[in-house]
Symmetry: C2
Subunit: 341 residues, 2 copies
Amino acid sequence: MQASHSDPIHLSFNELRDLLASIFERHGTSAQVAATLADNCAAAQRDGSDSHGVFRIPGYLSSLGSGWVNGRAEPKVEDVAPSFVRVDAGGGFAQPALAAARELLLAKVRESGIALLAIRNSHHFAALWPDVEPFAREGLVALSFVNSMTSVVPHGGHSALFGTNPIAFAAPRGQGDPLVFDLATSAIANGDVQIAAREGKQLPEGFGVDAQGQPTRDPKAILDGGALLPFGGYKGSALSMMVELLAAALTGGNFSFEFDWSGHPGAQTPWTGQLLILIDPDRGASRSFAERCETLIARMAEAGQDRQPGDRRYRQRARAEVEGIALPAGELAKLRALAGL
Amino acid sequence: MQASHSDPIHLSFNELRDLLASIFERHGTSAQVAATLADNCAAAQRDGSDSHGVFRIPGYLSSLGSGWVNGRAEPKVEDVAPSFVRVDAGGGFAQPALAAARELLLAKVRESGIALLAIRNSHHFAALWPDVEPFAREGLVALSFVNSMTSVVPHGGHSALFGTNPIAFAAPRGQGDPLVFDLATSAIANGDVQIAAREGKQLPEGFGVDAQGQPTRDPKAILDGGALLPFGGYKGSALSMMVELLAAALTGGNFSFEFDWSGHPGAQTPWTGQLLILIDPDRGASRSFAERCETLIARMAEAGQDRQPGDRRYRQRARAEVEGIALPAGELAKLRALAGL
């Protein structure tokens, strides 16, 4: 009996991670970079962050194949001050740069109470929450900003300039998994506009403008020379500007509008920068930050917010731990082929 | 010839500041607290931040008169780690607590690259931008969070929990005044709802809910047991939650819903906490952060955003420097009476 092309096959996290690592390594990354990206991508797939799971593999491979991103870059960690670490990612991915600085950064935040990591010359093509969640599991508060590539029009403007520029935050809880959010400062993700265009659907108002800078609900008009709008009007726009300043101007990375990948057909990964701030809440005057976090969440539930940031991912994760990570058989076959299996 | 009650009278900044300081001192603050609050309040009036200018004086005095806030509190600065400063504001105002920690905080950020100030047991009744702008004038990047008092319903909820919880950011520019924003994480300020109610106007959609947690455009229904909505849906709500965690849970201050002022009729100032993060951008890998800031602003202008955050305040400030700060004669007379003049 043969499985149909669309029947789901269930993999363990380790199986999926190892498969993805083989794919990355076969397409030009070092073993270490492959391990880091595979872990990140498998975690997104496991947690139901579909737009940042195996869906991203073709983009990664296309960028690697174009010579635009260096899959073998060795991040250079620079210890510049008691609470300030810089990394030159060497034109490689941001996640290995973060991994390379991690121990130094943890030592600094434990010693100083707060520490900053400034990554530049880096490509971030993943979700941002996997960068912050692990620090909350160490009892730290983490805040990260990454700029991306021009797709968002500044408030009141007519043409795209900012990236979707997400902000991610993680905090330890008294019980259970950390409180984590990861939010784009655009009103909608690029991928969701593409899906709406494919399905012939109109978008809600306030999500984008056309090539003339006029508001439109037509996803095709947004994609065809138009732009996304920031979330929440001028406020989201100000936050997106802040992300450009923190992730690029401060780190020494490119703004979302500065890189030119026209010489690398197939390039898809934005070449920018990333900022990460870690805080040790045990230095604060609360008896237990994590317990205070529980108090807030309990009151949020009483006020009627029954789902907290990160909850959906944790539910998916728990399910995947029992059932495995479901992939359509055809999808898995494609991945295995990319791994040369 | 006598000036009519509504004719504007123009005061210099120093004249207004000194008048306000006399009022504060006469109503129970120490000279130092009076000087700090007067400077802050006069600056808001000068810059056209009308809702945080002399408009706030009755609220300050009412809170002082109720015994709810301690106008003579001596902030206790705690040097807890190489990059972490705490202040117990002693039930007084947040601005004198910030002033007391300022020199230590500046020394730490210069040494460490980043530094954190955690203020607790404090009342913040002012705009947040005056807390961050001065640091950008020293070449630093500043980010601050303050929680306030229950008025905002969490996303998907039915009753108020969060404060209007503003976030303020300041960064130095290559030319001219710093880039500064100060944005409430609520869709609208409480004061603007009160004004709409007084004028009998309907609000746009998405600004508030009634006492049953149902969306309403009626400002009276919002004020009468209803609540404000966060800006930008679930994203603004997540940011408001983050402000509660940073400004209260981390500092050791009260959440916006925790304090009970019912024993102090007339109390108006929220008794919470405030977090401030300073970053020295010279530790980053940009040759000049301030010049990079100029590059971004120039491109924002090209993309059609012709007004940058803070611009309106600076224009008002420049005008006030030439013409003085205009106050209706009746308003000035009231202030002079409060000062016992």
